[in-house]
């Protein structure tokens, strides 16, 4: 039972409540850094570290933090983790750090992270909070990667820097420029809407059939 519960919290973030595709949170870093798959992965890792770390701390201190100043406390905890992530990336992979630039400090303003602290980590025990954070961060990473991969393949004809097509490939430059981000995400959301619509239709059909059958 207990194991199932934390598994449930983990899985819901990846698909059913996917932070980007379903809840439409955390859009800013989402669109800005996804012009290549490797940037998307680096951003996903940094966000995961920040989200899991701050969920753990917030959940640990949830009885100590006074309700009136909780938002400020959350933000300071998040900012601390972001500073750690920023300096770690600078030390380990300076090239990626340079590419992501100001968007690493901007993780602090990602509504997804603050939203999870407020909605989940500050109300549930530590184990569940960490599982929830891992699931949400996984879903976020999945979304970042799918957007980054689509944009890099269409806009540059490559994935992780490896050429996928022959010499004759004409890159669709606009995909790696800002408009491509908006358009790609719009189309992906359209696909999710369609999926949901089909599922609702199917469920309605099943209910109809059951009613007429009985």
């Amino acid at each position: 039972m207990k194991k199932n519960e934390s598994y449930e919290e983990f899985v819901k973030g990846i698909w059913r409540d996917n932070p980007v595709f379903v809840q439409v949170l955390g859009m800013c870093p989402m669109l800005a850094v996804t012009n290549s798959a490797i940037n998307a992965i680096a951003m996903g890792m940094a966000s995961m570290f920040v989200l899991v770390g701050s969920s753990f701390l917030v959940s640990l201190f949830r009885h100590v933090i006074p309700k009136q100043v909780r938002i400020s406390c959350f933000i300071i905890i998040i900012a601390t983790f972001v500073t750690i992530a920023d300096y770690t990336l600078l030390a380990l992979v300076p090239a990626v750090h340079k590419e992501l630039g100001a968007f690493i400090p901007l993780i602090v303003a990602n509504c997804l992270i603050l939203g999870r602290q407020e909605a989940f980590a500050s109300r549930y025990p530590t184990r569940l909070a960490v599982m929830d954070a891992l699931g949400m961060a996984g879903g976020f990473m999945l979304a970042l990667f799918s957007l980054g991969a689509v944009r890099e393949i269409l806009g540059d004809g490559a994935l992780f820097g490896f050429r996928l097509f022959g010499e004759n490939f004409e890159p669709w430059i606009v995909m790696i420029l800002p408009p491509g981000g908006f358009l790609t995400l719009g189309v992906i959301l359209l696909f999710f809407n369609w999926f949901k619509y089909k599922k609702d239709e199917f469920l309605a059909d099943v209910a109809e059939a059951e009613r007429s059958g009985s």
């Binding site: 800013c28 500073t83 100001a102 901007l106 603050l114």
Partner: protein
């Protein structure tokens, strides 16, 4: 001081915060369903940006030289208190506007456009006047993008759009087209 107009136009059009840097998308997609609300939210954001630019300059010049690793925490605390102050001000002056903005007023705190402004201005080493001009350009650019999207969305309410595409998907595609239009401004400065 030659570059002041350049900084302003660049932040306003060429490097528009919303459509080129993807900053401040949450209010951009969330509040842009009415023209009046989005214009007011844009003005409130511009004001917060101006105050933030001044605070960021003071912090950078006098405090943070000694402890650069505290920059992010300092900025976010300053922005949060500014927003709190403006929230109280609006609540007092115009309760109707306060209700119309709802949750998005406190959320200016987590509006990445504001923090982004402070960080970009710091990274580029802008001085006091340059910082203020930059903030003004960025704020007006943000308002412009908000108002444009709100206008388009109000028009689209009247037309017959398939149910499947309504909502965020359509807004993102509209934003994509707007962003493409703004890319046309990139040729405004040939030597930069």
């Amino acid at each position: 001081m030659d570059n002041l107009p350049w900084i302003f136009v660049s932040a306003l059009l060429v490097n528009n915060f919303v459509l080129t840097y993807f900053l401040g998308l949450c209010p951009f997609l969330g509040v842009s369903n009415s023209l009046a609300t989005s214009a007011r939210l844009g003005l409130a954001t511009t004001f917060v940006m101006l105050v933030t630019a001044v605070c960021a300059w003071v912090l950078n010049t006098y405090v943070l030289i000694h402890a650069p690793y505290l920059r992010l925490i300092c900025f976010i605390v300053v922005i949060a208190s500014t927003v709190q102050f403006i929230e109280m001000l609006i609540k007092k002056l115009s309760p109707a506007l306060f209700r119309a903005m709802g949750i998005f007023l406190p959320l200016i705190t987590t509006n990445c456009a504001i923090l982004g402004l402070a960080i970009f201005a710091t990274n580029r080493g802008y001085g006091f006047v340059e910082g203020i001009v930059y903030a003004l350009g960025a704020g007006i650019g943000f308002t412009l993008a908000m108002v444009l999207l709100a206008g388009l969305r109000e028009e689209s309410e009247l037309s017959n759009i398939p149910k499947l595409i309504q909502g965020t998907a359509m807004n993102l595609i509209i934003a994509g087209v707007l962003s493409m239009a703004f890319m046309g401004f990139a040729g405004l400065f040939s030597s930069s």
